[in-house]
């Protein structure tokens, strides 16, 4: 039976609605296993639909929704990473059912952003994403209240600024669609508000001070979701907004985003140097990675955007993989770097995997991180932003210092050896992230052409 490519759109809609419906029903039934299997099946179905849409090149446009290769690729990424987080969170026995239902709502919001053709969709989508995330953090354990409250207050600030920015945009253009806006003072002010509010979502300095606290205090699978998925949604929104609505202001936003990228890279890397808590260290490193991703958007060329999309994919998998190892260590109450000494003796797989993820963060050849950073820095050079590329390289080398500190402590010998067994769900997540990190590091061509196609689709809108 052949399915017409356009039917996948119908299938996608049904699957997304079913995902939420099934979650509500299984939640009421109080069956963890049921809910988990239903989630996995539905997410896999959505991923298959999106994959088929991507390969058959479906383009559909309505007033509020626009489906092309850009949104399909990123929605596919969001689905797969959400699947990974679902597998990871299955270890948190009691809170899993609540998390699953909240995450399905958050995923709905993320799709809104990825498929958005208007500011309203982005606004609703971000709101729909962030609220369930906060509830999930809040409901997991008592210690997380602080994390949730911080996230809530700053997100409220950010959403109100976004609303205000959209209002100003409407004032200047008489439209809330993501269309090319004419140059006017009001629209320029709108751009500033929107950059500030999306800077919160994408954890860019100076709108990201909540990040280390919230990442550290949240349950670890939610840290994975915050850094691996939610943050990327912020970048998707940023790319759509600046490249579709504010093309006229390329000089302005390019300069602003360059400066923000530089501040973000230095802020993340320099503070990470002195961190002892591995989870917090990864949080700061994620901040600096946001700075690298922003380089491609600041360049604002088609190649730059494809580099950013590539690095978004790369960082999602490396981050979730690294966070999964942190979750594995937390089960044994090991949090600081000195607890990681001799991990190679206790569990070779965990130590090797975390080393590879860190080498990927650094940008070592034969990992996905190298290709991403190479694309970003070369796009900056081609876009005549040589300084940005050099600062990026300087930061990459500063970051070697703290990543190597953790790697070396894992490979140090120690006297007393104990064997740590890894839970199956964590091992599955780590293995998948590891395969992506290495496979696309050695043979990156499929992902490069996919992100190139996504970038050209965005420019063709």
């Amino acid at each position: 039976m052949l399915i017409n490519p356009n039917d996948y759109v119908q299938l996608l809609q049904i699957a997304i609605i079913l995902l939420m419906g099934i979650n509500i029903i299984t939640f009421a039934l109080k069956k963890n296993q049921f809910q988990f299997i239903a989630n996995v099946i539905m997410l896999a179905a959505i991923a298959i639909a999106l994959f088929n849409m991507f390969s058959s090149g479906v383009v559909q446009s309505q007033n509020y929704v626009y489906i092309d290769k850009f949104s399909e690729l990123l929605a596919l990424l969001l689905t797969i990473t959400m699947l990974l987080i679902n597998i990871l969170s299955y270890g948190a026995k009691e809170s899993y059912r609540l998390f699953a239902i909240f995450s399905s709502f958050a995923l709905m919001g993320m799709y809104f952003v990825a498929f958005a053709a208007s500011f309203i969709m982005i606004l609703i989508g971000l709101e729909l994403m962030i609220m369930p995330t906060i509830f999930a953090i809040l409901s997991s354990r008592a210690k997380s209240t602080e994390a949730a409250v911080k996230l809530f207050i700053i997100s409220a600030l950010s959403i109100s600024l976004l609303t205000f920015g959209i209002t100003l945009f409407y004032g200047g253009t008489n439209s809330v669609s993501l269309i090319q806006a004419p140059t006017s003072r009001v629209v320029e002010i709108a751009l500033m508000f929107i950059i500030a509010s999306l800077g919160f979502e994408a954890s860019l300095s100076p709108f990201n001070l909540w990040v280390p606290d919230t990442y550290e205090l949240s349950p670890t699978y939610l840290t994975g979701m915050l850094g691996g998925i939610n943050k990327k949604v912020g970048f998707i929104a940023l790319m759509e907004v600046v490249l579709l609505a504010f093309v006229q202001y390329e000089g302005t936003f390019s300069l602003i985003l360059s400066v923000i990228a530089i501040i973000t890279m230095f802020y993340g890397n320099i503070i990470a140097l002195s961190q002892n808590n591995v989870k917090r260290l990864i949080a700061y490193s994620a901040i600096s990675q946001s700075g690298y991703i922003l380089i491609g958007i600041a360049v604002a060329s088609q190649y730059g955007i494809s580099a950013s999309i590539f690095q978004i994919v790369a960082h999602s998998f490396m981050f979730i993989g690294a966070i999964a190892i942190v979750a594995f260590m937390e089960q044994r109450n090991r949090t600081v770097i000195s607890d990681y000494i001799g991990l190679f003796n206790d569990n070779k797989f965990a130590a090797a995997a975390l080393s590879i993820f860190f080498l990927g963060f650094i940008g070592t050849p034969f990992t996905i991180g190298f290709i991403g950073k190479f694309m970003l820095f070369s796009s900056a050079i081609y876009g005549n932003l040589l300084v940005l590329a050099l600062i990026g390289i300087l930061n990459s080398i500063i970051s070697v210092y703290y990543y190597l500190k953790v790697i070396m402590s894992m490979f140090t010998n120690k006297e007393r050896r104990s064997y740590f067994k890894m839970n199956t769900n964590i091992a599955v997540v780590v293995a998948i992230c590891l395969i992506v990190t290495i496979a696309f590091g050695i043979y990156p061509q499929p992902l490069i052409s996919a992100s190139g196609a996504a970038a050209s689709a965005l420019f063709a809108r």
Binding site: E188, P212, M375
Partner: protein
């Protein structure tokens, strides 16, 4: 025809094999076979001499990453040197690394180290250089910190700080060059730079690459890490000091000679070489740790290579570059045997080495080669370097002569003190010294190395033709090598004087601190001047090598944990949500202010 690439799969296969096998004997054998394999590629490399092959590794959008292999005579020379010395080092390790548990990771790391250096030796563009450079740093870091003692961790950390400075400089320099010439390939950049007037960007880039070379070759002011790296196992030191790692810095200056020439950096290279040599040799005269003396002498030899390059004596630089590898490996092999036999690392703790006649004779070959005694390789390198210096200026000539004299004194002190016979009857019965218990593999590789040291002298006959053949490949160099009889006579006199003073002074073990007073005729005033000078240079040098502690100190104050940190960041990252909101608002206001002003 990219036959060089065949090395990589062979090595990967060997690494996998080594990782899978459980028996130690198998791992040792595999490591030896693996390390000797590259020799098989030499005939075909010589056949394709002068070819430059480029393959495209990655091509993304407008950007591409080509990897270029270059088979020029100097590349082949280094390749051959590595692949001759590596199997001997592995054979030596069979005896030296006697703890069974350490075998596997040690041999794998050594093989990885060798591959990185082999890739480095045939690199024809910056991409391959950078990859090999990174892997060299990583593997050397692992090998230096191999024993996992606190001191070795500290040494490895010190090493990594300096190496990172080099990495930043290297990457930035390569990117700046690419930005100005839009190519990574050496031969293209050299021809462009030699034909057009130099611009500032290219000059800055070359300066950065020079800094990178200085960090790798442990030259002033980055020399602090090499003596500290002596904490590693002796085979590692032998390998690291002879043909790998520290040679990388000099080698990059040799192959980029045309660029440094075009950027007018040769006088700077000369000055740095002289300063480093003086600094290193004065430290070597103080030191009593058997391997650390050799480390300082390595720095001094590398400095002389820089001096030769700075003088424009291209062939001399290549000659010292190759022959030094053999006699330095030989001396490290000897010191490893002494360490094993005496269970001590101080030269005053060694005894009765002269009783073992074959070993003593083999070591003497190394000592005389290093000192520059008449028929040995060091003699030719001394004389040719001094002749080149003489044609430049008298001052440089005198400085080089003083350095040569001090070198012969230093190595004689090292040799005499460490091999002196035990005369007193107060020997601890438990600490018997038995050279017959040391593994025969260590002796075997030492004797082969002594033989190779003598053979390597013959290179002097061919070095001029090698140098002039480089001219054919676009290297605008002066390949002449002068051996004037007057310089030879003066050099011999200086070396004999140094050896004689060293032997007479240190033959009885009384003069523990005699080094300084002998060099400066025991004068209180000169003693003081010397002390301050040495102290000044030493401080300059350790200032940079201790940079990691300064960095750490700053950041410890800045960041740490939110609950007990201090400084600027504490005020910002204080866990208070109101502060975060205020910072957010400041950021927004800054954006709006920019919009209003701009």
């Amino acid at each position: 025809m990219i036959f060089e690439l065949a090395i990589i799969p062979i090595f990967i296969a060997l690494l996998v094999l080594a990782a899978l096998k459980k028996e130690n004997r198998a791992i040792k054998a595999i490591a030896l076979v693996g390390s000797i394999t590259p020799l098989a590629f030499l005939p075909s490399m010589i056949q394709h001499m002068g070819s430059i092959t480029s393959i495209n590794w990655l091509s993304i959008g407008p950007a591409s990453l080509p990897i270029t292999f270059s088979i020029l005579p100097i590349n082949v020379l280094l390749f051959a040197t590595i692949s001759i010395i590596a199997p001997l080092v592995i054979l030596y390790s069979w005896g030296y690394m006697d703890k069974k548990s350490e075998d596997k990771s040690f041999y794998i790391e050594m093989l990885a180290f060798e591959i990185s250096m082999l890739a480095f030796s045939i690199a024809g563009n910056f991409i391959l250089i950078l990859i090999a450079w990174g892997f060299l740093s990583l593997t050397s870091y692992l090998l230096i910190g191999f024993y996992g003692k606190p001191e070795s961790a500290r040494a490895a950390r010190k090493t990594v700080t300096i190496i990172l400075i080099g990495d930043i400089a290297m990457l930035t320099g390569a990117i700046l060059l690419w930005h100005s010439f839009s190519t990574f390939q050496f031969s293209s950049i050299i021809s462009i730079m030699q034909s057009s007037p130099i611009n500032v960007t290219a000059q800055v880039a070359m300066l950065l690459i020079l800094i990178a070379a200085l960090t790798k070759s442990a030259q002033f002011p980055f020399s602090g890490w090499l003596p500290a790296a002596m904490e590693g196992p002796t085979p590692v030191s032998a390998f690291l000091h002879s043909s790998t790692m520290v040679k990388a810095g000099v080698f990059i200056v040799i192959i980029l000679y045309g660029m440094f020439q075009a950027a007018n950096l040769l006088p700077l290279i000369l000055a740095i070489g002289i300063i480093s040599a003086l600094l290193a040799i004065s430290n070597a005269l103080y030191e009593t740790h058997i391997k650390r003396i050799l480390a300082y002498s390595t720095i001094e030899e590398l400095s002389l290579m820089f001096v030769a390059i700075g003088l424009g004596a291209f062939s001399v630089a290549i000659y010292i570059f190759i022959v030094q590898a053999f006699y330095k490996a030989l001396l490290f092999f000897y010191s490893g045997i002494l360490i094993k036999a005496n269970s001590n690392e101080d030269i005053y703790g060694m005894r009765n080495a002269s009783k073992n006649k074959p070993m003593y004779a083999a070591a003497l070959i190394g000592v005389l080669s290093l000192a520059g005694f008449v028929p040995f390789s060091g003699f030719f390198s001394n004389v040719s370097l001094e002749s080149a210096a003489m044609s430049n200026s008298l001052l440089i000539y005198l400085l080089v002569l003083i350095i040569d004299l001090a070198v012969s004194l230093m190595i004689m002190r090292w040799f005499t003190v460490s091999s002196a016979s035990e005369t007193k009857k107060t020997v601890d019965a438990k600490r018997t010294v038995n050279y017959y218990l040391v593994s025969k593999h260590m002796y075997l590789s030492m004797y082969i190395m002594a033989f190779l040291t003598i053979i390597s002298t013959v290179l002097i006959l061919y070095i001029t033709s090698i140098g002039s053949s480089m001219v054919g490949f676009g290297y605008n160099v002066n390949s002449a090598l002068i051996l004037s009889p007057i310089e030879a006579a003066i050099a011999t006199a200086a070396v004999v004087a140094g050896l004689a003073i060293g032997y007479i002074t240190f033959n009885n073990k009384q003069h523990k601190d005699a080094s300084l007073s002998i060099l400066l005729f025991n004068n209180a005033l000169t003693d003081k001047i010397y002390y301050y000078l040495a102290a000044f240079f030493f401080e300059m040098s350790i200032m940079l090598s201790d940079l990691d502690f300064i960095i750490n100190d700053i950041f410890d104050r800045m960041g740490e944990d939110t609950s007990y940190s201090s400084g600027i960041v504490r005020k910002v990252q204080n866990g208070q949500i109101s502060t975060y909101a205020i910072i957010f608002a400041i950021g927004l206001l800054a954006l709006l202010a920019y919009m209003i002003i701009g």
